[in-house]
Amino acid sequence: MRDVAVIGVGMQKWGELWSKSTRDIFVESALLAMDDAGIDKLDSMYLGSMTPGVFASQEHLGSVMSDYLGQGHIPATRVESACASGGLAFRMALMDVASGMHDIVLAGGVEKMTDISGGETTHALATAADMKWEGVQGVTFPGLYAMMAVAHMDKYGTTREQLASVSVKNHHNGTMNPRAQYQMEITVEGVINSVKVADPLNILDCSPVTDGAAAVIVVPADMVKKFKKPGVRVTGSGHATDTIALHGRDDLTTLAAVHASAEQAYKMSGKEAKDIDFAEVHDCFSIAEIIVSESLGFFERGKGGPAVEAGETSIEGRIPINASGGLKSKGHPVGATGVAQIVEITEQLRGDAGGRQVKNARVALAQNMGGSGGSSVVHILEVM
């Protein structure tokens, strides 16, 4: 397999983009990535998008986007793994280049979520759960993560305040990210007193509904000198699955697919959890960041809550998590999230992250999750 590097990244501001279509949103970010790399032609592309058929009444998105991006007849593939669609699109692009099949490949992600009602959006997202055996009981995504939170709090004593600390940290980081959807500080009390969604989770424990896209360009590592910006090497990749029904798992306080995908990526890169300088992880809900940080091996099981409360995961902490603001503050256009994590890590490793720059960062990890942990994709990237 060939070594692969990221050579261009692009992402427009995320939010409720009423005036822009799915196509506009994706093409704008894709062009930014291509301009960053200094290219105007691709050999192939992969596009993460969870359910454009529901959100925008449009499937067949690979072909739509290669045409609207002016790429003629190149192979263009839509990739779907619920909210891990973007991370998986990046992995597909990586495999395409590593295999020697193509040299200049775009990995992108897009979701246009605000055209339909809140109830329809909740339903669309719930299709990533087991619709026939969970959905029929009225359980929502916040509900599934709430049930993980209840189990984690019962087993380890994780507190309501610790959950809130995740959202507070990520909103603070997001104030320094000009592309974040919600660039405002929040407080622990504010989270605890916000509108209830699924006990014990409140609205400020939940990532928002967002329109947005992100794109990166990957090439063989030995070609990076031909491009205008520094490359970032991709040294590890992992992808694992689990039951999509939460009730199908014996242990509801951990995420087996996250652990398995991380083990693959650690092995491939020759790194361990302790070697990671900072991480972007899938904080779709506050409890998710805590459990993921344990499943990745950053903290012992049950210690993720105390760690965030003690500031260990802040930008100045031992292992900064979600310096970008995470899904909570930056937004969560489901298919784009995994690619946006690669955008953030590339900018951090290039030293281009402005006020949220992590100091002395050389090795970073991205973790993107589908459903209630039914799929997980992990990548490790390093300074070249």
């Binding site: 109830g119 339903h123 969970e134 009981q137 009225g138 359980v139 929502t140 509900g143 209840v150 699924a198």
Partner: protein, 131 residues
Amino acid sequence: MPPARSWRAYSQTYRLEAARCKKCEKVFFPPRLVCNKCNGREFERFNMKRTGEVVTHTVIRTPSDEFSGEAPFAVAVVQMDDGARLTAQIADVSFDEVKIGLPVKLEFRRQYSEGEAGIIQYGYKAVPVRE
């Protein structure tokens, strides 16, 4: 829900028909063709006892459109006494009463209806077992 999709699950939603792997005895609800523990392909069908206990729980306050008239309602992962786990609403309960370990039994209940022309979905909901 399309009527055929609802109908296909009647054995489960109406009488809790599960499948026990003949090789490793893992119980599946709903039944499957392959055991995810031992890869066994032979199963024995049986109707589960209707009792179990709460493994974890929540109260849904922001539902999807189908359940907009129902919220708030309690939902739990239930460990059935016959081995399988499933997700069920908990009915006839005050939310304070719902705890990990709460003994429940599954009752036949109306789950939701889809407007004037759609089907009325029946199935199971859990209720607390009271002495």
